[in-house]
């Protein structure tokens, strides 16, 4: 007798569903933020925070609903994605609530506490997550909407141009007093479009090309859409001064193209084109130039360039945290200013949880990406593979771009840390993203239907004499 053990996501016969694992992890993902919340309350006000019960129940309820939906509608999905997202979202709520307690913020004129809204958005995000799982019985349905997705993405991206710039970038649209960052939703739409398009065109792109100086040059009609996307991302950069989003789309596209065609030359093209575009734009866009100057030496521009001051303040927040951090609620990351609870929320992590905590957060993100890539590996259809790798690649790039900017590794771009940062669009879009990944992983891990019983396979009856 041999026992079949299978712990990979690559589905095989009798793959365990791992729903109970998920539930156990989910319990941690709810309890840890509750303790963090308690910790902040004790540190700042010396008392158990009043909203503790409500917060705990709220988070627990949301996680519970999500779990039940997954259990019912995606029973074979990856067990790590939901707990990871829940943990990040929960800790993000605590971080935002902690920044709400800042006296510095409270003394500013138009102070609005962010935590309540964020909890609302998180609920909405989980509702989106549930909706994805309920409505999307099979991710391959999305293939049908390839071009609709492209259209939607373009509309979403172009919309902010018609709204006034905020904080030097046109990436928001304001409807009835609520700001929406359409770029976050466009991320998903464009991933769907790329997957659909590349799945159809991948052979043409990979094979129908001429060899030139060791590189495979594709035909013009296949190259066309790529150039369009490249131009689009540059245009976003120019008109909306949104470095992050353009880098994100372009990076995502290059990754998906590479995966679809299996040709390294695409990466070379991608890098060349993005470098050319970036240099070109940087020469005549003062906003971009400022950011680069601020990145090169944040302290040189302190007090002179707004971005410089922010980066320097963020670096000092990280430095003050040191190895173990000051502890929840005991840092001064509010000194970074208005963006402390959105773009720079990781600096609060750095200051209050220290090197240890920040690395833990980065690893949580790393795990989400890893589970996403694993899902792509496990997926059986090219569309699912492309979509999964596109979404998780985009997620990785976003994390890198934001955290790298906040830590001064690369120029600051003004994107938000998924799940952590205050902001409805980001939370909702990322929950939807997790929903799609879970759906793909469910399909991928679902055990193959049991083979029809064949009389030949029946065991021979042994009759003892």
């Amino acid at each position: 007798m041999s026992v079949v053990t299978n712990t990979t996501t690559i589905g095989a016969i009798e793959a365990p569903s791992r729903r109970n694992t998920e539930l156990a992890l989910l319990a941690f993902a709810v309890v840890i933020p509750i303790f963090a919340y308690l910790n902040v309350g004790l540190a700042i006000n010396d008392q158990v925070p009043a909203g503790m019960l409500g917060y705990g129940l709220g988070l627990g309820l949301l996680a519970g609903i999500a779990h039940l939906v997954v259990r019912k509608f995606a029973p074979y999905s990856d067990p790590l994605l939901l707990p990871l997202a829940t943990l990040l979202n929960g800790l993000g709520l605590v971080l935002i609530w902690r920044l709400d307690q800042s006296k510095l913020f409270q003394s500013t004129q138009n102070f609005v506490p962010g935590a309540t809204n964020q909890l609302l958005y998180s609920a909405l995000g989980i509702a989106f997550f549930v909706a994805v799982l309920l409505l999307l019985k099979d991710h391959r349905i999305l293939q049908r909407y390839t071009y609709i997705s492209m259209f939607a993405a373009l509309v979403l991206l172009i919309l902010p141009v018609f709204f006034p710039a905020q904080f030097g970038a046109r990436i928001w649209i304001t409807i009835a007093g609520k700001s929406i960052q359409p770029g976050e939703f466009a991320k998903i739409a464009i991933a769907v479009f790329f997957s659909g398009y590349l799945m159809v065109k991948r052979d043409a792109l990979a094979l129908a090309s001429r060899r030139f100086m060791g590189l495979y040059l594709p035909r013009g009609r296949d190259l066309g859409p790529i150039l369009v996307v490249w131009a689009m991302s540059i245009l976003i950069l120019v008109f909306e001064t949104d470095l992050g989003t353009s880098l994100l789309f372009f990076g995502m596209f290059v990754i998906m193209l590479y995966v679809a065609t299996e040709r390294t030359s695409w990466i070379v093209f991608g890098l060349l084109m993005s470098a050319g575009g970036a240099v070109g734009v940087a020469t005549f866009e003062p906003h971009v130039q400022d950011r680069v100057t601020a990145w090169l030496d944040p302290f040189a521009g302190y007090g002179k360039i707004a971005a410089s001051e922010q980066i320097a303040k963020s670096l000092m927040a990280f430095g003050s945290g040191g190895t173990l951090g000051t502890g929840w609620g005991q840092g001064h990351s509010d000194l970074i200013g208005f963006a402390a609870n959105s773009d720079f929320i990781l600096a609060t992590v750095g200051e209050e949880l220290g090197l240890a905590g920040t690395m833990a957060f980065l690893l949580l993100y790393g795990l989400i990406v890893e589970r996403g890539v694993r899902t792509a590996l496990a997926a059986r259809d090219p569309f699912g593979k492309l979509l999964a790798i596109g979404l998780s690649g985009a997620f990785a790039i976003q994390v890198f771009v934001v955290a790298g900017g906040v830590m001064g590794l690369i120029p600051l771009t003004g994107m938000t840390m998924p799940f952590l940062a205050a902001g409805g669009s980001s939370v909702i879009a990322n929950w939807a993203l997790i929903g799609i990944l879970i759906r793909i992983s469910d399909t991928a891990r679902r055990p193959a239907p049991a083979p029809a019983p064949s009389p030949d396979a029946e065991m021979t009856q042994v009759v003892r004499p």
């Binding site: 003394s107 990280f318 040191g322 000194l335 750095g350 998780s392």
Partner: protein, 486 residues
């Protein structure tokens, strides 16, 4: 498609790895540098996050902390009798940083100093709020009060030292300022600050430590010490060979005496009693510029003193010709000194030739009252022998008994002193500085040496003399020290 997928996975892993490496670089390697950056407001927040430790005089704090209502600084510094103690404490301001003891001992007062590591760790476990340690000064409240009130509305400074130990007993400077008015970071503090900055009387200047004045005739005691030490004169009652008037070597300029005084070939004792320019000018030349410099340096000239607040270096000029030596030896030309330096001169003489290193921080104390460090008296140098010191004592005591310093007399106490009226400005156009240096002596030795300088440009020129303006202040300070010891 799996091969490129694995490569993408590696790429994503590298992105995360880059972030992790960068994070270690920031939060481990560069943490200290970033944390102490001059732009980092946390340094200030920390300085005012808790009640600051206190600066203590006579067992009582002269500083305090007030809870502030707005802003991110929890506490604000307050001062008891601020203007009087400002030259000692310096200030700690939320908006304008800190100075002097407040700055030098910031680590102890804030509680972040490494010496307090154990207390901090303990407090972390017991949950007590972090507290700062205390700085216990050597100052005497009575002496400081006498000095500050003696100066009153006049511009000037007083430094008083315990000759036996070098403990600074008084350090007053007027006009002064109240550090409480600039302790916060409100608009009102800003206004007070710019008013202080613009004040032409420079109230923030610590005249006792940082301002150098021409010492005038008080410097003659240094010249007398040099003459004795280098064997130019052997006894204080021996006649010197000095003409009146004295034509300075290499010039045709006569060095005059003030008024009609018996200076021709006068003894050292008489010359000091009447403050003869001719005698001491010639003595300086006879001793020679190099030997004068040597003695002056032994008294502490030409080097900064750290008490531990930095005091400017007093100056005895180097590389000078004979006529310049003559002028320098009577405390004119380029000779300049801080009040602290002249107090050190008086103290060295009173202490029989042994100059103790002046200091004003006696102890550093942890919040739990444990002593962290104790300053021990330290000998700085021996500018003159015990015999010569006692000769100088006799001379200085004559000055107070029957010379220019009679106003410094105290009943039942032996007082030695020397007056000075230093001219300054082009062609002596400005009103001179009135100086007085002195020490008091009881049966138990000398408990105090004082230097007083009054730079009062309001008084009419004729009224300005060391004996008239400065000696009474010195007397009051000495009396306060002696009375407080009873």
């Amino acid at each position: 498609m799996n091969k490129p997928l694995r490569r993408v996975a590696i790429f994503c892993g590298l992105l995360i790895l880059a972030l992790l490496v960068r994070d270690n670089w920031l939060q481990y390697v560069r943490a200290d540098e970033l944390n102490s950056s001059k732009y980092n407001r946390r340094v200030l927040i920390e300085r005012y996050a808790h009640e600051r430790g206190n600066i203590i005089v006579d067992g009582k704090p002269i500083t305090g902390s007030v809870k502030t209502k707005v802003g991110d600084f929890a506490y604000k510094r307050s001062y008891v009798n601020g203007p009087m103690w400002a030259p000692v404490t310096g200030f700690a301001s939320q908006a304008f940083d800190a100075t002097q003891i407040e700055k030098l001992e910031d680590g102890i007062l804030t509680g972040t100093d490494d010496q307090l590591f154990f207390d901090r760790t303990l407090a972390m476990f017991t949950g007590e709020e972090k507290q700062g340690g205390d700085v216990i000064t050597t100052l005497s409240g009575a002496a400081q009060k006498a000095a500050f009130e003696g100066l009153g509305t006049k511009k000037g400074a007083v430094a008083a030292i315990d000759p036996k130990t070098g403990k600074i007993l008084a350090l007053a400077s007027t006009p002064s300022y109240d550090p409480s008015t600039i302790a916060g970071n409100s608009d009102k503090d800003g206004e007070a600050w710019s008013k202080l900055e613009e004040d032409k009387d420079q109230p923030k200047l610590n005249r006792a430590l940082r301002e150098t004045y021409p010492p005038g005739s008080t410097f003659k005691v240094v010249t007398a010490a040099a003459a004795l030490e280098h064997g130019v004169v052997s006894g204080i009652d021996d006649k010197t060979d000095s003409p009146d008037p004295y034509v300075m070597p290499g010039t045709t300029t006569k060095l005059p005496n003030e008024g009609n005084i018996p200076c021709k070939n006068a003894t050292l004792r008489v010359a000091l009693q009447y403050s003869c320019n001719t005698v001491f000018g010639k003595l300086g030349v006879d001793v020679g510029a190099d030997n004068m410099l040597e003695t002056a340096k032994k008294f502490g000239f030409n080097s900064e003193q750290f008490v531990p607040v930095r005091a400017n270096a007093s100056v005895f000029p180097e590389k000078i010709n004979e006529s310049q030596t003559a002028l320098s030896s009577i405390g004119q030309f380029d000779t300049r000194t801080t009040p602290l330096q002249m107090a050190m001169v008086a103290a060295a003489i009173a202490n029989d030739g042994k100059l103790m290193k002046p200091y004003m921080i006696d102890q550093l104390r942890a919040p739990n009252l444990d002593q962290l460090s104790q300053t021990d008296p330290e000998e700085l140098s021996r500018p003159l022998t015990q015999e010569h010191a006692q000769m100088l004592q006799q001379m200085m005591e004559t000055v107070v008994k029957e010379g220019t310093g009679t106003k410094a007399q105290i009943d039942g106490v032996t007082v030695g002193g020397k007056t000075g009226t230093a001219q300054h400005g082009e062609n002596n156009s400005k009103n001179p500085y009135a100086w007085f240096i002195s020490y008091a002596k009881t049966d138990a030795g000398s408990p105090v040496a004082v230097a007083v300088v009054v730079e009062d440009s309001d008084a009419s020129r004729d009224d300005i003399s060391g004996g008239g303006l400065a000696a009474p202040i010195a007397r009051d300070v000495m009396k306060a020290v002696i009375d407080s010891k009873k």
